[in-house]
Amino acid sequence: MVQSALENETSFNEATTQDYIALLKFRVMRLAVFTAGVALVIAPASINPVVAIGSLICIGIGAGAAGALNMWWDSDIDSIMTRTSNRPIPAGKITCNQALSFGLFLTFFSVMFLGLFANHLSAALLAVTIAFYILIYTMFLKRRTPQNIVIGGAAGALPPVIGWAVSTNSIGFESILMFFLIFLWTPPHFWSLCLMTKSDYSKSKIPMLTETHGEEETKRQIIVYSLFLLVPSLSISFTSIGGLFYLVSTLILNAVFLYLAISLGGFGRLDKPLRKKRERQLFLYSIFYLFAHFSLLMAEFLAKFFFLFYNDFSRVLVWF
């Protein structure tokens, strides 16, 4: 009896720390913290660095909570898809209830402490982001419409708005442009991933555009969205956070994005190895594209900061 009970206990697949970290979707979390961090720094307001770091940790935990709740709800389809079959729930490391409680706890924790550290507006925005990602995208849109990623992309686009709100306690025009930059970037990024892993989505019966409208339409939509991307990225150049350096760089980044999108879908039929190569190139470049945009905004801010510092410093020297 005791032996049998002990065997049952020890045969249980105990979760490790890495499994809980995997539940947080670390890559998505990293992107949310990075974009929110850049917006927080470049916003036209000063914030205590300790409060800024505390707020960014809360935003990261909030993004992780959304990832855990997403894995809880999608555990049935995650086990079908090759790409997601080794996630902690389908792998049997963490149970659905554990993931749900973990996600809910982190949601309340992150929203409450962001409200205490920064302000109520940023906490409310974080709560809206998590709610939108889980209730609207994961539970409603994802399994119903091929526009899932287009509308659901709003959740992933909100972190810069939260970062801006942490710093300024307001939603600025610049943060809305950053929102639209990520919002319009999400569809071509995800569709290029879908083109690479399309068999996965057909197995799980998720109505991705590649399944419902075919590859050619998806490629056409990627071109359309890569054109749309020009609007927010060029608009940012003419605001207080942009500048000439950003304008020139964004033109190059958008031209390459458009070239890769057109070379995938616009030059007639490609043979399979070349098509696979182009899909992979576009997917990897889309990751670089967003990273480069926010890095450029940061670089533009630092350049202005040091220029002002240098000017003030030279004025001090003249005075002496």
Binding site: T10, F12, T16, T17, N48, G54, F117
Partner: protein, 60 residues
């Protein structure tokens, strides 16, 4: 023998998880402390309304 091995593995995993949980809790305490110090040093109004009418809670 196999049972002992799997029990050891179970304990190692649990110990490792508890260690990282302790690190997170310690980090949380440090973070609360630092943010409290930062907020107190910023010189802002920290006195809240506690259902007692007094001039200091009203803006001029």
């Amino acid at each position: 023998m196999v049972l002992d091995q799997s029990k050891d593995e179970f304990n190692v995993k649990r110990r490792n998880r508890n260690f990282w949980l302790a690190i997170c809790l310690a980090g949380f305490i440090v973070m609360i402390f630092l943010v409290t110090i930062a907020k107190l040093s910023s010189g802002g109004m920290i006195e809240g309304f506690d259902h007692t009418v007094r001039m200091s809670v009203y803006k001029e």
